[in-house]
Symmetry: C2
Subunit: 344 residues, 2 copies
């Protein structure tokens, strides 16, 4: 029931996802009087879908605390309960982000060894794609949180983006070792000294989010949120200026028309919908928050990302990695005994 379009985007999205992955099965939570008419247009989807009807849904301006208290029969809560109880393997929602995170944290809890879930997203870049996390779940983070985020991002890049050995950087204000907060230095030291399926390359800067020189960028939720929204803002600004100027003159319109193929290819390369969704990484089950404004195509991408995470065993890989990390970090931080004075 979430997002700007509700079932009118979500049902067609499921139909698109089903076409791409015919083995998918759906359980759809919400008002059946709104879901059924949409489903009627997609008979193949209807055959593999169960509707779990409820009249209650969490609105977009509901506070997370209120959603938790009063929303036990809401479509959002029932969907999360469903994955928690093992009937489904992945939950996807376009609803209220804060409520979804709070409910998912409460019901699903973190994977063993993960202290806090992080919100991640995949952004297009000059060369490929970059995973950035955290984007707002944790406004303050210690070094261990950041290292755990690095593991989550690495596993995501491997299982969903198909990068064999993802490169990992910590977001900072310069690449020199002494730049930035002490927490970042501590996290860097840990990442330099552990073995994990990615490769730590050092501090990176804001512009590296779009250069594509690094696969995974780790940051606290405050900085990540500001960076993400700044990037979105600049994208909107440039697209608005191009629209104004091309649309404002006859030659501009003509040029646009002639170059429309190029413009379309450019738009596709920059399309943030391709990996639509904020990924809640670190929970015991796969949970994906689609953009509220997602259309059917965008929401179908969120479904496919979730399907990839389940199929490629994202959570198993994270679990292993975190276990290994805990052992490694204990080793690294163990005090080194002073050398014996053999001449003594």
């Amino acid at each position: 029931m979430g997002g700007d379009h509700g079932p009118s985007a979500i049902i067609p999205a499921a139909a698109i996802a089903l076409k791409a992955r015919p083995h998918l099965r759906f359980r759809i939570f919400g008002d059946q009087t709104k879901i059924l008419p949409q489903l009627a247009a997609h008979p193949e989807l209807r055959d593999v879908t169960e509707i779990i009807h409820t009249d209650v849904h969490i609105s977009n301006d509901e506070k997370p605390s209120v959603a938790l208290r009063k929303g036990r029969q809401s479509s959002m809560r029932l969907a999360i309960d469903d994955v928690s109880e093992g009937r489904t393997q992945c939950v996807i929602s376009a609803g209220n982000t804060g409520a979804l995170m709070a409910t998912a944290k409460l019901v699903l809890r973190c994977l063993p060894g993960v202290d806090r879930p992080a919100i991640a997203t995949v952004l297009p870049s000059i060369r490929g794609r970059t995973v950035t996390l955290d984007l707002g779940a944790n406004i303050s983070c210690d070094a261990e949180n950041l290292v755990q985020f690095a593991m989550l991002g690495t596993c995501f890049a491997r299982t969903v983006l198909g990068v064999e050995q993802p490169t990992v950087g910590i977001l900072n204000i310069g690449s020199e070792d002494k730049k930035g907060h002490e927490t970042l230095h501590d996290a860097a030291e840990i990442l330099q000294n552990i073995s994990f399926p990615g490769k730590y390359i050092g501090f990176v800067e804001g512009n590296d989010i779009t250069t594509g020189d690094v696969d995974v960028i780790v940051t606290d939720g405050f900085t990540g949120n500001v960076a993400l929204k700044t990037a979105e803002g600049v994208g909107k600004f440039i697209s608005q200026v191009l629209k104004d100027e091309f649309g404002g003159s006859l030659l501009g319109k003509l040029g646009y028309l002639i170059a429309s193929g190029a413009m379309k290819r450019a738009k596709n390369r920059m399309d943030p919908r391709v990996y639509n969704g904020a990924l809640f990484l670190g929970l015991s089950q796969v949970c994906i928050k689609s953009h509220g404004s997602a259309d059917a195509f965008a929401f179908s991408r969120a479904i496919l990302v979730g399907a990839d995470m389940v199929q490629n065993r994202f959570n198993d890989m994270v679990g292993e990695q975190i276990q290994k990390l805990t052992a490694d970090v204990n080793y690294v931080t163990m005090p080194i005994p002073a050398p014996m004075d053999i001449n003594g």
Copy 2:
């Protein structure tokens, strides 16, 4: 001697600035064997310019501490000494940012009442321009620092951008009162309760840097630096994608050619060179750091911004404001006596 181009950009830049403001006078610090040939091409500029020759200059990879110790005869240090000793009213450099900030802080010191200088810049937005500060001088800031930055940004928007009552926002991860770090809440409370020549509008988000809905955005140097570099990165990414796609096909090239007027207008609107320069606000004298890559046009803009700040008495306005602020904040934070119980 600073920047990628040295005198070959800086001398023509001074000539451009002089044409725009014929009352300007220049003192140029550096190697006269490199300056004189450039100056020969600009006789009007030569007539109003003194060269202060020195062989020493701070390179771009010099550490600030080394620049301070060993650079007493460098062009950068001599130029800053000159403004400190009252022979010039404003210093502009395209050199090493860290060295310039460290030297300017040491020699010029802060305006009375300002605890730390901030680095500010002016970015183009959908509606007008936005001043953002701090961009890296102070990685951790308390509420009073942020409030002082708000005063600096307000005075800059008034004196250089000509905005009568600039709107001011604090960069956060949401507009609700409870979002983000406590420091931000404390700064917001102070800004809500003082009178100043701007208007505090509350928390803003990363995308507001480019919407133009707010004139001044206040943040700590870590967050500001990440946001600025993210914005630059997205700009480069989009321009690269457009170049690839338009240049990659005949129709793309043709369309680009026909719409070249529109494309040029779009580029002009987004041109970050128009207010080129990182402004070191809060020092006792006006000091401007031009981008190292600045060409003659960009460097001329940095000169004109400096000239505007001097002519419109930026520092006097800040001084007054900070004095008033100190009085106001003392008032705000004074404990309010409990009301007397008149029924005793």
